[in-house]
Symmetry: C2
Subunit: 314 residues, 2 copies
């Protein structure tokens, strides 16, 4: 079958990849659409030392298991469900986990791939494939709301108008939060206004927010974010920057700031937001490529401000 | 009157300091015992640019106001109680605040000083002066419990056997938490065992804790602390290191760690712990000096492992 494979820091199309075989709790899924994530680009640069089929954002059709024949999306962490971490209620942090297209498990940029049946969620009929492919990154955005334990403050600042920043802004706005989003490409983001998100070009002087989301992925972003977080406020870290930050942490102690690292999330809240139309994804799509044009798709995804690049498989 | 004054980065005894006058909500307190804090040492090195009488840990006798004649301790933040931050319930973070012996307000290393009457708390009869002088740093330790919103996990690691580390370990142990404390001077800390705190010389390999308290005040401490915080666990920052940290924050995001900055706290929980005898302070005292030996007291306090140096005033 066709597959987009990371091999020796090179993303290349393989035409004769062997079709995977289900079993041991793993079911086969036929990919319909898969999305390129920044993590894919980082993996291609050597992050995590991954080799194999890339791709962890997908909507597909289950080929076996209890959802056979249905349109599905799925959680990317393959957990043991047996260790102390899993039994303690944090299977997404299982120390023995493999991760779809990221760590020890082939991903979704292929005609077919394997995933634990228990990881799959049914896609509601009213949610299109092009919407459903955003479920995984949207779940990651929803995770912040879960970590805030329902206490979303009345105002928030989202720093960064990349894909995750745009999803986060909409998720917070959907939770009755007045969101200001600061970014570089605001001219393209008029549609965000419909979600109640206010676009600002520069940080207003002297203003602080009880919730600040750092989604720029830049080294400077974090220090700037600390400066505009209110005393006893929350600074959410959603992106990782490779290597070390030079960071003055005194404001964290003096202002008693809570820093929340946040990664993957549960799919149900994300699917609900998509079903209720509370998050727009269509304007975020920057291009659609066939799987056999996957290498070009990666080149495009690596361009600044490219938006979400989708790979349409079947 | 006698006062220990920071002037031009020099701590010196002034014999003719003018006695302060009460008024405008400020009452006079006659200092009985005051404690030297690491913050005092940092102030002497130029931190905050403070000039004036040092000292913010005290037990004294109120000379006027509603507690006149009583033994008192008191909160160090002089807040306006009128701004949005104060009215929002966070007066200790008032942006207009002055801080006793730290920022814009003379402190307690003097025969008398001023403090807002509303900041004072009565010291219970069963709590000695030498215990009561620990109320402020103990309140800072209790603040972590308040920030955890009552959810103290069953196990914790405290890194650092300085004064704050020792108080934090005891406070957590008093909240049914099995605490391991890692430090350099464990030989002197046998008494901590009575509080249920377990002393460890080195971090055990591969073990993680749902709560890690960084109280070493060192640059390396924070990075090490991140490594031993469990996924979805909490890392509490209680000390500030001047300047910038070189820090890899990827584990914060990947393991969804919550970093809690924590500074001052309410006095009532601290006084309750002292009254119930759940925190031992006596073994932490490293020396007692008269106010006219204050310069020597500062020299002693600056020595590594000196313990809490007390200044006995009246």
């Amino acid at each position: 079958m066709l597959a987009l494979v990371l091999d020796n820091s090179l993303v290349r199309l393989q035409r004769d990849r062997e079709r995977p075989l289900s079993g041991d709790g793993l079911v086969r899924v036929r990919t319909r659409i898969a999305g390129i994530c920044n993590t894919d680009l980082e993996l291609a640069r050597g992050y995590m030392g991954f080799e194999g089929v890339l791709g962890h954002e997908f909507v597909g059709e289950a080929l076996d298991g209890h959802l056979a024949g249905a349109r599905v999306v799925g959680g990317i962490n393959f957990s043991c469900h047996d260790c102390a971490t899993c039994r303690g209620g944090n299977p997404r942090h299982c120390p023995r986990r493999t991760v779809l297209g990221i760590q020890g498990a082939d991903g979704a940029f292929a005609e077919e791939f394997l995933i634990p049946g228990r990881n799959l969620s049914l896609v509601p009929d009213s949610v299109s494939d092009a919407q459903a492919v955003f479920t995984e990154p949207l779940a990651a955005a929803c995770q912040l709301v879960e970590q805030l334990a329902g206490e979303v403050p009345p105002t928030a600042l989202v720093m960064g108008d990349g894909k995750l920043g745009l999803l986060l802004a909409q998720v917070l706005a959907a939770h009755a939060c007045r969101v200001e989003l600061v970014g570089r490409h605001l001219d393209k983001l008029g549609w965000l206004g419909d979600s109640g998100v206010c676009l600002v070009e520069e940080l207003p002087q002297g203003k602080t927010w009880p919730l600040v989301v750092e989604a720029t992925g830049s080294r400077e972003g974090l220090e700037a974010a600390l400066q505009v977080t209110s005393p006893r406020g929350t600074l959410a870290l959603k992106t990782t920057v490779e290597g070390s930050h030079e960071l003055n942490l005194a404001p964290v102690v003096i202002n008693e700031i809570r820093i929340l690292g946040s990664r993957c999330g549960a799919f149900e809240p994300a699917l609900e937001l998509l079903e209720r139309g509370q998050v727009q994804t269509e304007p975020m799509i920057g291009g659609r490529y066939g799987l056999d044009d996957g290498e070009k798709a990666f080149e495009r995804a690596a361009c600044r401000g490219a938006g979400k690049i989708l790979i349409e498989v079947g």
